[in-house]
Amino acid sequence: MALGWNTAWGIARRDLSARFRGLRLLLVCLFLGVGALAAIGTLTGAIEQELSSRGRTILGGDLEVAVWQRAATPPELAALTALGRVSGGTRMQAMARAGDLAAPIELKAVDPAWPLVGRLTLQDGRSAGAPLPGEAWLAEGAAQRLGVRPGGTIAIGTLTLKVGGIIAAEPDRLGEGFTLGPVVIVAADVPARAGLTAPGAMYRSKYRIALPPAANPQQVGDALKARFPSAGFEIRTRDKAAPGAERFVGRMGEFLVLVGLAALVIAGIGIGGGVSSYLEARRTSIATLKVLGATSADIARIYLLQIGAAALVGSAAGLLAGVLITPLLGKALGSLLPVAPGLVIDPAALGRAALYGWLVALVFAAPPLLTARRYPAMALMRARVAPLARHWRDAALPVGLGMAGIAALALITAKQPLVTLWFLGGSLALLTLLGALGWGLRRLAARLPRPQDPLLRLALGNLHRPGAQTGALVTALGFGLSAFVLLAAVQTSLDANIAARVPQRAPDYFVLDLPQTRVDEFRTTVANVAPAAQVRTVPALRGAILAYGPEGRMTRVADLKEIPEDAWPLRGERGLTYSDGVPEGNTVTAGAWWPSNYRGEPLVSIDEKLAKTLDLQIGDRLTIGLLGVERTARIASFRRIDWDSLGFNYVLVFSPNAIADAPHNLAATINLHDPATRGPLLRALVRTFPASSVIEVGGVLTQARDLLRQVSLAILAAAGVAVLAGVAVLLGAIAAARASRVYDNVILRVLGASRRQLLLLQLAEYALLGLLLAFVALGLGSALAWLVVVQLFTFDWLPAWPQVLAVLGLGLALVIGFALAGSLPLLRAKPAQALREL
């Protein structure tokens, strides 16, 4: 006959201190773990929600149709206007000038119907649509680089435009995706009048359509593609308005959830330790309750309720903190996030965080709870009771259920279940490894010869005495310090990869839309300003792969249900080129290169990775859509491409006779040797080639580096929670051993030890443990970092060891500092007073 839940709660509540004395470690650990997960979940949920609810505004319509290097043909346009209201325009890289200043910009030409959804806001508070003919709306960045304000003038190509206003908010900014310069919005006819859309120029026409409410954008888009199969349409719908941003936020969020879970696992160790020492301190109460007639089921019920109440309070506080911290996180991460989240309550994210917290609490609290219910009533009458063996069989069910629950929750909510599975398996392996290490360390400390120095002897003894917290400490600190090493090694490796390769080999400028006829003039212009500069030019075209495979049995890309993950060149239009010789930095790995002045069947050379992904053979056929026309070539060779050089790298290189007749311009790279020539060169190029656009690689790299830095900041923040949880476990372990420590210290003081000696003893003990763990963490963390850097990112393994060691040293100092700070109160105990209390 078990006690009713009501009565059990009545007893549990009375026995529970209002301030959760004894259960604070559990409270803090759950607070940290659940708080981290709640913040991460709320943040990503808020952004994803924002992206999907504002999809129509972000895209600027229900459906967007884009084509490269041409406008829609009259039949195409007629088909689009039949669907609903249409707003058309062009996007391209261009250069804007004002006096002596020049800046690369993203030119966005829009018709009077723009924007179909939402309004443009200017900094002076005006709400506007498309600019008047002869005017331009400038993004703040463009206005700054050009030193202009409203009322001033700028030149684009051969046209002079008045600055009509500075943009405060552009409704479809996110939907435009990654740009290489600040935006300048102009009327639809500006690119053509400025001479920027001559045949072969690199621009994109975009048509946004507002569909009738009943229409399904996806179906409409599919129908358009089927009707114009070779048009090269790139179609996006409102529910995938910003796929890049969504994918980034989704993956980042998922990765952070895994880091948060790692924090929660460390917190779990604290929970287990906290519950264990709480119940240990309750031994007498448990025995008393048994004398009064409580069964072991009653005991389990009473203490389950107490621990559950503390878990509820801890996780509720964590949820609250998670919600409150989200706007701050949004601010701290700033430009990394596509939208800034405000104060959001996302019940699903909070529910997940709470569920994770309770499952972890269940896994780690069940074993001590199930052991505690076996404390015998006789403990009250006998001074010594044999220590209780842990009954693993009892705990197997709840622990197994909890672990299965965590795995199921992680896998169900994962967008990349395989990564999650690896992570879960890895964490389990790491925990097991550290657990085994803790066990081994205790055994080893017990067997080592006793040191001569009495303090060292005691320090060693403290590692294996009954009730020693060595196991928990090894696991928690090992996990935390490994995380330090992992982060430092990954970060320094990535930095080194970027620093070591890119700046030396990346060109300073990319120049687009250089007319073929003016290539000599271009070289002369560059040589006049920067005589040492190296210039490379290649023909630049754009086209989409439409079909591939053996002749007669070709696979059409449009028929593929899903494009394979590694076959990214099949998505939309790609840069194409042709060449007489093998491009610089490329190696032919199969087949043969065509002879110069080749006149035979059109040929193409393909990136060997793509060839492998698509299972292509030499001699197979490849069909591309180029300016609305299908062209087929025979595959003559495979090439290995050195992508790191950041120069011109083309997946597809054709024999000149295959595509050279299509109208096109050249693209150029410029490598400067004298940074001082940068400004004058930019001005000279803009003056001489107003229709061409220049991209500054330095600026793009800075952008990429800033992004990387913010990503690592986010990871560091999440990992910081893991470290905090580790510190909580450390302090909890110190508190758990407090009684025996006070006893030791008092006895040692009575025997004549000074406070300094006692402090040294503590230092020796923690330093011994810390140093050993530092070595273990160095090994484990480096191994994991190597996996991430070499296997996951396929970068070179270039960690900066001094920095890694410094970070590890810092972590170690932090741990020892916290340990000593936690022990100081024990040293203050006065022997006479303490002896009376013992």
């Binding site: 006959m1 006690l3 009713g4 009565t7 009545g10 007893i11 009375r14 026995d15 529970l16 201190s17 007498t284 109460s285 025995a287 008393t288 309750l289 048994k290 004398v291 009064l292 007639g293 409580a294 069964t295 072991s296 089921a297 009653d298 015998p376 009533a377 006789m378 009250l380 009458m381 006998r382």
Partner: protein, 207 residues
Amino acid sequence: MEILRGIDLVVPRGQTLALLGPSGSGKSSLMAVLSGLERASAGELSIAGADFARMDEDALAAARRGRIGVVLQAFHLLPTMTALENVMTPMELAGLPDPRARAAAELAAVGLGHRLDHYPAQLSGGEQQRVAIARALAPRPALVFADEPTGNLDAATGAAIMDLLFARRAETGATLIVITHDPALAERCQRIITLADGRIASDRLTA
């Protein structure tokens, strides 16, 4: 190792019995078995009609509820509960009605009506033992065990506590078994059993 050997004992309802004997003679073990805190490895044990010999630990705990009260030398009040809550707990475990009012009445009967909301740490040793007596007697058990109930108290307080225990027992009519080293205290019981080496060495009724 056999601790208790050949114990054959019948205690009539309402009797007061003292268990005397030196340390290690088996007093505490006998009490543990009689009170259902421990199971005898062999033999028969029936208390107030219930067969205690065949119960596992949890069944014993359930059987103790409301039937058996225990007063211990070190009081063993629950430190996190007030005097009132301490007394309520066994009645709640036994599922008895109205535990709060009954606990308050019981505490008033041991002279602590004004100390209901005090925690054990706020009570003197004598007061704590009075709470323990109230806690043992409140469910109206058929059988009350007292293990060295005055061992932690000074002589005067100890005598007062024993007066109280005997008075409350007389009022409730429970059977009382007292374990003690103190022959004077033993003489206040109706029957004295002396244990030696796990056996009953003598069993006599007092005058």
